[in-house]
Structures are given as C-alpha cells and as structure tokens.
C-alpha cells in the first residue's frame, strides 16, 4: 500500500528531487556505466523514495535512504539484466587497458569497464565508499550487510581494480580537483 502524501510532503519531495537528482544520477552512472540506465535508475530510486517519503522525511534520513533505494534499484536491475552489456564491456576491455593511462577518455572507459567486472555488490561498495565518501558503517547500512562484509568487499574490489587498471590506477595525478559531486 502506497501512503498518500500531504501537499507539503509532496512539495518537499519535489524540492529534494530537483536538487538531488543530478547527484544521484552521477552516482547511478558510476554504478551502471550507462547514461540511459543511470537515468532510469535515478527515476526508479526517486519514485521509490517518493512512495516512502512520509516516513523517510520524518526520520530525517533522506540522503541515506536515497542511497539505499538507488543501490536497491541498481542491484535489482542487475539481477534482471541480460548479459549483452557485459559482453560489450568484455569486448571493450580487450582493447582498452593497454592505453588506459594515455588519454582521459580512455581511462574513463577503462575504469567503467573495470568496474563492470566487479560483482554488483562490490561495485556498489566502491562507489559508496570512494565516490560518496560514506563511512564503512553507512555503506553497510545502505547495502544491508555487515561492516565486516563491506571491508572485505572493499579490499577485494580495490585489489581487483588495481590489477585490472595496472598503471592507470597509480598514475592519477594529485592536482586539486573540482567537486565532482554535482551538488
């Protein structure tokens, strides 16, 4: 049963959605690697958030709940997805890693391909921990697992990425970077 929102609640949700949709879409893009899918995930996540808004806003946990619904939408979509996209990334992977550090675009594609070779939950851990800068505890809450699980997934995922990216992982320059969160 979907709870019905009061006008104020719906207006509040609309404000939240308008402000945060870009941020959620960027996180979704890191989760799925496709613009259209990121848009769909964001839409699904916001719709689920809207349906739960009545209790979410009262609990003052809007952002953390948004993370949870986005991750759930991603994992659910992953379960349903066919393997065609995976095959495409595998193909891309065959050609990309050797040139990974040469050009930004290639590095981006390489990173996305590398992320796509991680199990969905491990990929979600990487995005939440290192893009969203969530703590281990908050990541565990978003994923509905233990902190120990987050730590082990994170450790394995980083090792895998280091292995896949090789030099590309270590040659990220350390000059100041603008806030990419899109807030």
């Amino acid at each position: 049963m979907i709870s019905r929102l009061s006008p104020e609640e719906l207006a509040d949700f609309t404000e939240f959605a308008q402000v945060r949709q870009r941020h959620l879409m960027r996180t979704a893009y890191l989760l799925c690697g496709e613009k259209q899918t990121a848009q769909d995930l964001t839409q699904t996540a916001l719709l689920n958030l809207c349906r739960a808004w009545h209790r979410v806003r009262r609990a003052d946990e809007v952002d953390s709940y948004a993370h949870r619904v986005l991750i759930n939408a991603f994992l659910s979509a992953q379960r349903k997805a066919d393997r065609e996209r995976k095959a495409l990334w595998d193909k891309a992977w065959d050609t990309a890693p050797a040139r990974a550090a040469d050009h930004t675009t290639e590095l981006r594609l390489t990173l996305l391909a590398a992320l796509d070779r991680l199990p969905p939950k491990a990929r979600a851990v990487v995005v939440l921990r290192y893009w969203e800068d969530l703590s281990v505890e908050a990541t565990a809450a978003a994923l509905g697992c233990s902190t120990g699980n987050v730590k082990s997934q994170s450790s394995r995922a980083l090792a895998k990425l280091r292995e896949l990216l090789g030099d590309g992982f270590d040659t990220i320059e350390s000059e100041p970077m603008e806030n990419k969160h899109g807030n």
């Binding site: 979907i2 709870s3 019905r4 929102l5 009061s6 006008p7 104020e8 719906l10 207006a11 509040d12 949700f13 609309t14 404000e15 939240f16 959605a17 308008q18 402000v19 949709q21 870009r22 879409m25 960027r26 893009y29 890191l30 613009k35 990121a38 848009q39 964001t42 839409q43 916001l46 719709l47 809207c50 349906r51 806003r57 009262r58 003052d60 809007v62 930004t104 675009t105 590095l107 981006r108 990173l111 996305l112 992320l115 990487v126 995005v127 921990r129 290192y130 893009w131 800068d133 980083l158 992982f169 270590d170 990220i172 320059e173 350390s174 970077m177 990419k180 899109g182």
Partner: protein
C-alpha cells in the same frame, strides 16, 4: 592511515574522472511525480510540486484579495446558476473581493478529502466556489490586510494554446523531457496566470500573503485511526504542543516539529467534539512560489546561469541553497489567533458540511 587516505583520494579522483564529459543533466523529476500519481491519488494540492505530480504542469498561486487600490466588495456569483446548499458563513466585514472564487473549473473532490484523479473536474463547482468564499472570508475576518491565494494547477489538455497532438504523444511516451520541450514555456505561463481558463482550482488550503511574507497552508478533513489517542489534545501529543482554545465546540492542538530541508512543520488538529477532525498545516514556506530552471526545461536547464538557484515566480528574486527560503506570512501567535477565532471555527463548520456532501471516494 596516510596511505589509506591517499588511496581513498586516488579512488575518488578516478571515479570523478569517469564522470568527465558525461552529460547527466536530464530532468527526471516530472516523470517520477507522474509515476507517483499513477500509483496513488494524492490529497488536494496546494503546492507547485504537488500539482506537478498530478499533471506534470507546474502550478502557481492566485492572488485573490485584496487587489491593491480596490476597496470594493464584489460578491461572487456561481457561473453554474445552481446555488450550493453549502453556503459560506455570512461575514459582512471586512470587505472581501471574492471574485476569483467564481473561477469556473474546479477539481473534483471526495468526501474523504481526496482529490479525484488527474484533471477530473467537479461536476458541481458551486460547492467548491462556496467553500472558497467561506475560507477567504474567514481569513479576511481576522487579517483584513492579508491576501489569500487558493490552490490551482494548469491542465494542458484544457489549454487551446498548446498542440494537443504533441501533448498526447508525449504523455503516451511518458517522456517528461519531451513534454517540457513542447510545453515548458506554457506551463510557466499558466503558473503565473491564475485566471487562465486552463487552470483548475482546488478547495482546501492555498497561500497567504502579508507584508511580512508569503506561505502556503492546507486544510483537510481526516479521521484519526481507531484507538488513537485524541490528536487534538496536547495531553496526548508528545511533540511541542500549544492548546488551541475553543469556541462553538472547536478546539485542538498546534504542534511544531523540526523536519528535514530546513523546515519546521506546524500542524493544527481541531475537533468539534462530535467526531469531526480538521488538520491545518503550514511551515512558513511558499511551496508554490519557487522553482528551478530545470523544472521547465527538457535538458534540466543545462547552461542556464541561474541553474542551481531558486527563482521566485512572482518577483524574479533568486535564492541560493538546497531549499527555498522560508518566508512566513504570519507569526506562530498570529496563526494561533486565526485558529482560535470564531470566524475560522464558523468556516470549519461549513467545511465539514461541504465535505459531507461530496461524493464518496470510489477507492474507499
């Protein structure tokens, strides 16, 4: 520790780099709200975002009373010719311009306080018009200088200026960007032209404007869940609570609760002691007054210099920040003054009768 921090930073840069040059500015909010509306019919709308939920058409609020320089009273007349049995309380002073209550198109309401599905019009707008007059008269009796604005929302399907075939096509595709591309300008127009016939008005709530500010409010009938302690009694309410003194049987409790998004929700629950309950809500914000450029642009307003800012649709004023600023029209004491007034309690009597005569909600 430093190594771990360095690795975190490196990963953050790596992930940030993956977002370079990726255009992720699509505006999915209208589609989300339309999706929500398909799953659930919402309560009456007083807010821009709320109306967007129903129709993907942004609403505004109609400046009702008094028009500057206008000291005349023009009693509203029903355009249907059928007088409603739900008549407004007779409040002769102060003079109130009720002309906008004569708007012809009103949303169909149900007896449980719910709004009929998107765009469904009332078959007997005289009842809604009478309630509008009663509400405005009650406010004017307490705050003669205030301007009350009823809720309204635009219905593209009623708008002869838009290409209906495109609207139909966009709706069929469920494409919010396409709808914004084809009708965004018109939607913005409707939001600031309340008298336009393509706007549909709605009973219960609206916006109050005073020299101090402008804020939205809602008025709803409701029934407490069976077994619940009386929500109209501060003794049974745990939140910050102020008793609302009674007259004519109406009395209640005004609670205040901090909410996310820099909001403090105020909720007044009033009961007449005969099983009728009314909820009045406000929070010092004008939920209809502010919008972002992305709300009317297919591309989310990419490249617009005002992107990320809130724009007041009436004044053009810009406001930074995650949420629109609070602009309270009344102080808490003034709200309490209204809620304890005989004029408002008289309105509540008529409001309850109005609802009792509305058609039953087919979903309940």
């Amino acid at each position: 520790m430093e190594t771990e921090h360095s690795e975190n930073e490196r990963m953050h840069r790596l992930l940030g780099g993956a977002l370079d040059d990726v255009d992720l500015d699509a505006n999915v909010v209208p589609a989300v709200l339309a999706g929500y509306d398909r799953g659930v019919r919402t309560r009456r709308y007083q807010a821009a975002g709320a109306a967007l939920a129903v129709l993907a058409v942004t609403v505004g609020t109609a400046t009702l009373l008094p028009r500057s320089g206008s000291g005349t009273t023009r009693p509203a007349t029903s355009t249907t010719g059928k007088p409603s049995e739900t008549t407004a309380p007779v409040i002769k002073k102060p003079a109130v311009d009720l002309s906008r209550c004569a708007h012809e198109r009103w949303a169909r309401m149900y007896s449980d306080g719910m709004t009929a599905p998107s765009g469904t019009l009332s078959e007997d707008p005289a009842a809604e018009q009478a309630d509008c007059r009663a509400l405005l008269s009650a406010f004017a009796a307490v705050f003669p200088d205030a301007t009350i604005t009823p809720a309204y929302f635009g219905v593209l399907e009623l708008d002869p200026r838009v290409d209906q075939s495109k609207v139909k096509q966009d709706r069929a595709k469920d494409s919010a960007p396409d709808l914004m591309r084809d009708t965004g300008t018109e939607q913005l127009y409707l939001s600031t032209h309340p008298d336009d016939p393509a706007n549909v008005y709605q009973t219960g709530g609206g916006t109050i404007v005073t020299p101090a500010g402008r804020e939205s409010f809602g008025v709803y009938v409701f029934k407490p869940a069976a077994g619940d302690a009386s929500p109209a009694d501060c003794d049974t309410v745990t939140a910050d609570c102020t008793p609302i003194a009674g007259s004519g049987g109406w009395h209640g409790a005004l609670t205040s609760k901090t909410a996310p998004m820099d909001t403090v929700d105020k909720t007044a629950i009033l009961t007449d002691g005969h099983g009728n309950f009314v909820r009045v809500t406000f929070n010092g914000k004008d939920s209809t007054g502010w919008y972002t450029v992305g709300a009317y642009a297919a591309d989310g307003g990419a490249g617009d210099p005002n992107r990320g800012k809130w724009i007041n649709r009436w004044t053009g004023k810009l406001a930074p920040g995650n949420w629109p600023p609070a602009t309270p029209a009344l102080t808490d004491a003034q709200w309490l003054q209204l809620l304890e007034s005989t004029a408002f309690h008289t309105y509540l009597d008529s409001f309850v009768k109005y609802h009792a005569k509305l058609p039953a909600d087919p979903l309940h």
